[in-house]
């Protein structure tokens, strides 16, 4: 907690080195996964060969429990102001410019802004909102996953339009987001 407090203070002063920003981010991720684990600890585990009803019930129970555990969550709680410049800089270096055409094409694949099948929607972006079942999921190219700060197995990065979201894999909750993360070409 002490490291986080110092890092946040340095961040306000605009003097936070990237390594410390990652440490702050990792601390927030650890706090999220701990709260999540506590919230879902009483829920029954899902079999590896489940019925659609069991999958649905589990997702809903997970989402309810996790939401309940972070009712006051705000944008920036996990994707902190300290980590944002680093993420934006990675995305800019890997997406912007004529030499990154393939990466730009890749993040449009499955991106709900660019590729919706009939009956599918673009998710409304908010902390603790459900990423709808009838929304496609964007590709996140390997080069970005290699360079972006690592996430715990419970979370993943996805793109919705130009917004980068952190998505909880089992509950489908949007945990946090970063608007205008994808640079314009």
């Amino acid at each position: 907690m002490g490291i986080v407090a110092i890092a946040v203070l340095l961040g306000w002063l605009g003097a936070l080195p990237p390594q410390s920003a990652v440490e702050v981010f990792n601390a927030r991720l650890a706090a999220y996964t701990k709260a999540r684990k506590d919230a879902v600890s009483n829920l029954p585990s899902l079999k590896a060969k489940a019925t659609p009803e069991q999958i649905r019930d589990r997702e809903q129970a997970f989402a309810k429990a996790i939401r309940g555990s972070r009712t006051g969550a705000q944008p920036g709680d996990v994707l902190t102001p300290e980590i944002r410049p680093l993420i934006l800089s990675i995305l800019k270096s890997e997406i912007k410019g004529p030499h990154n055409r393939d990466t730009r094409a890749s993040i449009k694949e499955g991106n709900p802004r660019h590729e919706k099948a009939p009956g599918e929607v673009e998710p409304a972006i908010a902390v603790n909102a459900i990423y709808p079942k009838n929304a496609p999921l964007s590709t996140v190219p390997p080069v970005l996953l290699e360079r972006l700060p690592q996430l715990p197995k419970e979370l993943e990065y996805r793109f919705v339009g130009r917004t980068l979201i952190l998505r909880d894999r089992e509950s489908n909750l949007i945990v946090d987001y970063l608007k205008e993360a994808v640079p314009t070409p």
């Binding site: 060969k49 489940a50 694949e109 099948a117 599918e120 999921l137 390997p142 080069v143 489908n172």
Partner: protein, 277 residues
């Protein structure tokens, strides 16, 4: 009513024009992709596949992603998968799915897709053949390391990979995923992957071998993007005017394939010979 009569007739009628050796001890499987629409076409394709089962044993089916478009309620699982392929499932055939960009990753828990809770996995249906199912939506470091390790440890088996996004494609809508190709193809070449199946493009395409690897696209099992195959010198065969599935038979060092439309027309067939063990 006409629809159901046609389905029943298809299921009961003997299959025609089987171009595969159909040996008793070989590995038989079918390939479908982008099948999860619940449309009339998906039902007809499922019935056609079931009709072929009367003359060709199908040991298992691989699904190349976009297994369920739109909603994923229990009713959707039924309407977009269980019902269209009911006759095939009733014969005890297992379906092995990969995740597409229209699929919620929690499909990995669904018993009918045999993913056992995993986004990526491999299975060995018979001695000498191993299939590798990858999650091409999210190729993180952990998965890349798994692919490398899993391929390295698979010995002299036939190595067949399947996932959603094609590494090569003549499609005008999507085209090849070149970012993914940079990561996967070197591993495929190093470890002797012979055949790769992908979906995503709503047509059938067989590419000329690229770096010794045979690439197929089968993303046209329930919806079509007619006229979307651009002229390319990479295309060995392209077809986009009817929904299709592929039957495959691995016998020794040969993989035989036959691509069939929901109307029963064979649009491609051939044999791939393994390069080296």
């Amino acid at each position: 009513m006409k629809h159901w009569i046609m389905l029943a007739a298809l299921t009961l009628c003997p299959a025609q024009e089987l171009k595969l050796p159909n040996a008793g001890d070989s590995t038989h499987f079918a390939v479908i992709g982008d099948s999860g629409t619940g449309s009339r076409e998906s039902y007809l394709l499922g019935a056609r596949l079931a009709a072929y089962q009367q003359s060709f044993r199908v040991d298992f089916v691989i699904m190349l992603g976009d297994n369920l478009y739109g909603g994923e309620s229990p009713r959707d699982f039924e309407r977009k998968f269980e019902k269209p392929f009911e006759a095939v499932l009733q014969r005890g055939v297992k379906f092995y799915a990969t995740l597409g960009n229209h699929d919620d990753p929690n499909q990995r828990f669904y018993k009918g897709f045999n993913m056992n809770g995993k986004r990526y996995y491999s299975f060995k249906p018979k001695d000498g053949v191993r299939l590798f199912c990858l999650d091409s939506n999210y190729m993180d470091k952990e998965q890349v390391e798994w692919v490398e390790k899993e391929l390295a440890g698979s010995g002299s088996d036939w190595k067949i990979a399947f996932f959603h996004h094609p590494l090569y494609s003549s499609g005008e809508k999507h085209g090849p995923d070149e970012e993914l190709r940079k990561v996967l193809e070197p591993m495929f070449m190093k470890h002797g992957v012979e055949v790769v199946f992908a979906g995503h493009e709503h047509f059938y395409e067989r590419l000329k071998p690229q770096n010794g690897i045979h690439y197929f696209i089968e993303g046209g099992s329930a919806k079509l993007r007619k006229g979307n195959i651009a002229k390319s010198d990479q295309t060995a065969k392209g077809f986009d005017t009817d929904e299709t599935f592929i039957l495959c038979e691995v016998a020794g060092d040969k993989l035989h394939f036959q691509t069939i439309t929901k109307s029963g027309q064979t649009v491609d067939s051939g044999t791939i010979t393994r390069r080296a063990k």
